[in-house]
């Protein structure tokens, strides 16, 4: 299905998933204005949100099924497989977060259904980011997502830590948006356009001329802006405090959705607009190395599980940056596979962690998990699978993702980067394994230690889905590969062809 953005009917079709979700968000907004008193209202809003996300996924699926694509290069939104797969990641992260949130909101007495509306806006922003074929659209999506997530971070307004996290995130985030916008302005100054395709055609010609300084400065500022959102070292300072202070389901949503969206936009910008440029490969190379080493080393010394996972998400951003640095279509496919695996395992880990946290106090240390396996064998098994997957152990989806990234890096000739990736993965065993060790190998401190561990039916459903998904993709990744391969090829500038592209 070829869509021409000049025709309004086609333009609406291109934006179909976003329009569906926008419609739903308005419905939800009206609904919560009208009913926001009881727990029942909260549940109802949650289920409506779930339905909204699922119906948006169906709309996305319909476009994917009909192979929707956009004619010409001047469209402001792209319609390609990369966008659909990225959308599914955001929608999946959102839907899992909804399932996990039911029990959490009621336990923490956060009886405000606006929570779900904000979640929908966050997902909408991410989808716009992944769709944007124009720097302005990407920026709009980024702001829509960010503002929603700032509020979600501070949602537990009675807790000082939550408010502190929100303020910190907002201030630093606003600063980073400034960088991004400045970068866009400089790129516009150099090329006279904000459309990714048009920038791409001009970059080659500009490389030799004087104005390339302005272009490179713009590119650098863009990388800084995105680096903040993906929490790459040295722009990661906010991540541990914000992840720690935010309500746990929101942390899971932030660590997966926000990161995946920023990476999706980064991939599109670097590949479509700056695909012919080689400068950014070196910048990202260093960023990846520093992020992998920093994230893993800082995570080693964390006692609190939530902070440990925060630093581990920094480390995973580093692994994804390896894919960015490698560039080309296998790297983009690798990113999608990794993002799917990472979303599953991270949401799962935070969901189980939240079951352990008591009301009002969310600081669960690794030692607090001692002996969990004897009381809650299934929850422990789920957390163990998530940890092994985060570690990249064969048999889990995490391994498949890491493996794909390694292939992408090696086929781009980045052997050193691949070696650093696996060596820092070894370091990560030093903090993922203690969680398993505490659960299975240490005795329960006393009989009442795990009495309050509770995960409601929907939380359990989400965890079960995550664990099954991780194991299934770990053993039988064929479908995932097929999907990622067609999606990975779709964001490449049509003129350039990559030297070696494995299947």
């Amino acid at each position: 299905m070829r869509l021409d953005p000049a025709v309004s009917h086609d333009l609406l079709l291109t934006l179909l998933p976003e329009l569906v979700l926008t419609g739903w968000s308005l419905v939800l907004l009206l609904f919560v204005a009208w009913r926001h008193q009881t727990t029942r209202d909260l549940r109802l809003t949650g289920w409506l949100t779930f339905v909204a996300l699922v119906s948006t996924a169906i709309a996305t699926w319909w476009l994917w099924w009909n192979r929707a694509s956009v004619q010409g290069t001047v469209s402001m939104v792209a319609a390609d497989d990369f966008r659909w797969v990225a959308d599914w990641i955001f929608l999946g992260a959102g839907a899992l977060t909804v399932l996990v949130s039911f029990g959490y909101l009621e336990r923490e007495r956060l009886l405000a259904p606006e929570y779900y509306v904000l979640l929908v806006f966050g997902v909408l922003g991410m989808m716009v980011m992944a769709a944007g074929a124009d720097l302005m659209v990407i920026f709009l999506g980024l702001e829509l997502m960010s503002v929603a997530v700032y509020v979600l971070t501070g949602f537990d307004r009675r807790r000082a830590r939550s408010a502190e996290a929100a303020l910190k995130y907002f201030l630093l985030g606003a600063f980073a948006s400034g960088f991004l916008l400045y970068g866009i302005a400089l790129v516009y100054g150099a090329t006279g356009t904000t459309n990714l395709g048009l920038i791409g055609t001009q970059v080659g010609a500009l490389e030799a001329s004087r104005s390339s300084v302005m272009l490179l400065a713009g590119l650098a500022l863009l990388i800084v802006g995105f680096g903040f959102k993906i929490a790459a070292v040295p722009f990661h300072m906010w991540a541990p405090d914000v992840y720690d202070g935010a309500p746990t389901p929101v942390t899971g949503f932030m660590a997966t959705g926000v990161k995946a969206a920023a990476f999706a936009a980064l991939f599109r910008v670097l590949n479509q607009a700056f695909g012919t440029l080689t400068t950014w490969h070196d910048i990202v190379w260093w960023l990846a190395v520093v992020t992998m080493i920093g994230g893993n080393v800082f995570a080693l010394s964390q006692r609190s599980v939530k902070r440990m996972l925060a630093y581990s998400s920094v480390a995973h951003a580093g692994y994804l940056l390896v894919a960015v640095s490698a560039g080309g279509s296998p790297a983009t496919s690798a990113f999608l596979v990794y993002a799917i695996a990472y979303t599953l395992m991270t949401v799962g880990a935070f969901a189980i962690l939240q079951a352990k946290g008591r009301a009002g106090e969310s600081d669960v240390t690794i030692d607090d998990l001692s002996g969990l396996a004897t009381r809650h064998p299934w929850l422990s098994f789920g957390l163990a699978v998530c940890m092994l997957s985060l570690l990249g152990f064969p048999g889990t989806a995490g391994f498949i993702g890491k493996w794909y990234i390694l292939i992408a890096a090696l086929s781009a000739g980045q052997n050193v980067l691949a070696a650093i990736l696996v060596l820092t993965s070894v370091v990560s065993a030093g903090y993922y394994l203690p969680v398993i060790m505490a659960m299975y190998m240490k005795p329960e401190p006393d009989e009442t230690a795990h009495l309050d561990v509770r995960l409601d039916r929907w939380g359990r459903t989400a965890v079960a889905a995550v664990v099954l998904g991780l194991l299934l993709f770990g053993v039988w990744p064929n479908r995932l590969f097929d999907l990622a391969r067609s999606a990975g090829g779709s964001v490449q500038p049509s003129s350039t062809s990559t030297a070696v592209s494995p299947p």
Partner: protein, 501 residues
């Protein structure tokens, strides 16, 4: 017909059985596990007769797994892996039977993990697809980690994580090396495949990269062997693991390293592996392992640690035999791999049995118990003598062949290695004397009970193996010979060997 399903059955059956063990009530777990492992052994036994010693791969099954990436489920055995598979299925029922009174909590989990471990170990030995090999290599790590960490001794957490991280470092670098080989072969031929034969035939003209790749494989396998100075995880893991864990660790897991050298590191990178520098380094490290391992064993107060260090020495002989690359030395190395599984396995069982009675592994806690527990003392003596390589026992055949074969290639190193045999006699005979002979001074030892019928059932097959290989090793050597010969001819073109006697 048998040839088509046997390997797959050996891989899948333990997984099914492991799931069943988890489902049945805890007190039945050990019976179900024992029955399952006996069935597994029964499935594998006909391999011995149906195997045709012709130097090639047999019982091969090849099915696409992730076809787009050239990942296949390809398995098969030759004269090298056949014995390791049989050793695995042979030791598993014994390990399960030997744990009956040792494991007192969470039985179901323990036996299920042992069964899953079986799949992983057999998988490593039969994989003919490097992706499958890597997955199996890693997968077997998790059950062992849990076995040490949950059912181990006082210092088990430290030992478990040390074991895990040591192995993990090596194997991840090996993964990168496998992927580089894969992409290299793909560039050369245009075909993407992880198949062993495909990668092997395209591993030439790698240039200087071969050194790095060999280094990655070397690290992974040398940690597992373990080669000095990468052996430090071994004493900790051995001592802290429960009896069955130690037996499997020593009996089978260590052989994965030497098997890896034989199957992958040597054939893939012959020019690097047989360069003077690498030869020198490996022979020297093996020698250090043999002599240093023996000397350290000599001063161990803890019997289990003594056996652990003796493993370092035995595996040094294996490495020497492999790198000497003569027919006798390679056959000898393969035979030591089997012998070590049997003898050291039996030693760990015996230490575990006496530990269950007295709750001490210290040599000085015993003395003169031969009169109290004559059966135990008699069997310990025979097993120790086989570990020292007394003629008539299995140990002699293997070490003799290695020394004989290596003398042609490395005369000086072989002479030095021979002193290792003397050191072995020194530490094991001293320990034997202090434990079962000497005057009985400790009153607690007077009430020790002798071996029960169950314990005799565990030890009897091992004793039979010791005597069989010691007296009539021909059936073993016969089956190994073609594969060993094929390997040597592949690495050393016949012209260069022809001149030697």
């Amino acid at each position: 017909m048998y040839a088509r399903w046997v390997i797959t059955a050996l891989l899948i059956w333990p997984l099914i059985a492991g799931a069943v063990v988890l489902l049945v009530p805890g007190r039945l777990a050990k019976y179900v596990a024992l029955a399952a492992s006996l069935v597994e052994f029964a499935i594998s036994v006909p391999l011995w007769w149906t195997f045709v010693p012709d130097g090639g791969m047999q019982f091969v099954v090849d099915r696409p797994w992730v076809a787009a990436w050239g990942i296949h489920y390809t398995v098969g055995v030759d004269g090298i892996s056949l014995f390791l598979v049989l050793l695995t299925t042979f030791l598993m029922p014994l390990s399960i039977l030997g744990s009956w009174s040792y494991i007192t909590r969470r039985d179901g989990g323990f036996y299920a993990l042992l069964l899953v471990l079986t799949t992983g170990m057999i998988g490593v030995f039969v994989s003919l697809d490097l992706f499958l090999f890597y997955v199996m290599w890693e997968v077997m790590l998790i059950p062992m980690y849990f076995i040490i960490g949950v059912w181990g001794g006082d210092n088990r957490l430290y030992a478990a994580i040390k074991f895990f991280i040591y192995t993990f470092v090596g194997s991840l670098l090996m993964l990168v090396a496998i992927l580089v080989l894969y992409l290299h072969a793909a560039r050369a031929t245009g075909a993407y495949s992880f198949g062993y034969a495909h990668l092997l035939s395209n591993a030439k003209d790698l240039g200087p990269v071969a050194w790095w790749l060999f280094g990655a494989f070397f690290l992974a396998f040398a940690i597992k062997v373990p080669l000095f100075p990468l052996h430090t995880w071994l004493p900790d893991a051995h001592v802290e693991a429960p009896t069955a864990g130690s037996v499997i660790l020593a009996g089978i897991l260590l052989k994965m390293g030497t098997y890896g050298f034989l199957r992958f590191a040597l054939p893939f990178f012959p020019s690097v592996a047989l360069s003077r520098t690498v030869q020198l380094v490996i022979v020297i490290l093996s020698l250090i392992g043999i002599i240093y391992g023996g000397l350290v064993a000599l001063v161990q107060p803890d019997f289990k640690k003594l056996i652990a260090y003796s493993s370092v020495a035995h595996l040094g002989f294996v490495m020497l035999g492999i790198w000497a690359l003569t027919l006798q030395s390679v056959q000898g190395a393969l035979l030591i791999m089997i012998n070590h599984g049997i003898s050291t396995g039996a030693l760990f069982f015996l230490v575990g049995m006496i530990y269950e009675r007295r709750h001490s592994r210290l040599i000085e806690a015993y003395g003169g118990i031969a009169r109290v527990v004559p059966l135990f003392a008699g069997i310990l003596t025979i097993v120790s003598l086989s570990s020292i390589a007394l003629p008539g026992t299995n140990g002699f055949v293997g070490e003799f062949l290695v020394l004989l074969g290596s003398f042609r290639t490395y005369p000086i190193a072989t002479v030095l290695a021979t002193t290792g045999v003397i050191v072995a006699a020194a530490y094991l005979l001293t320990a034997l004397q202090r434990v079962i002979y000497n005057p009985l001074t400790n009153a607690e030892n007077e009430k020790l009970s002798d071996l029960t019928l169950r314990e005799l059932l565990v030890l009897a097959p091992l004793l039979a193996g010791i005597l069989w290989i010691g007296i009539y090793p021909k059936p073993f050597l016969q089956r190994m010979e073609p594969s060993a010969k094929a390997l040597i001819e592949q690495l050393r073109p016949p012209s260069s060997v022809a001149g030697q006697p």
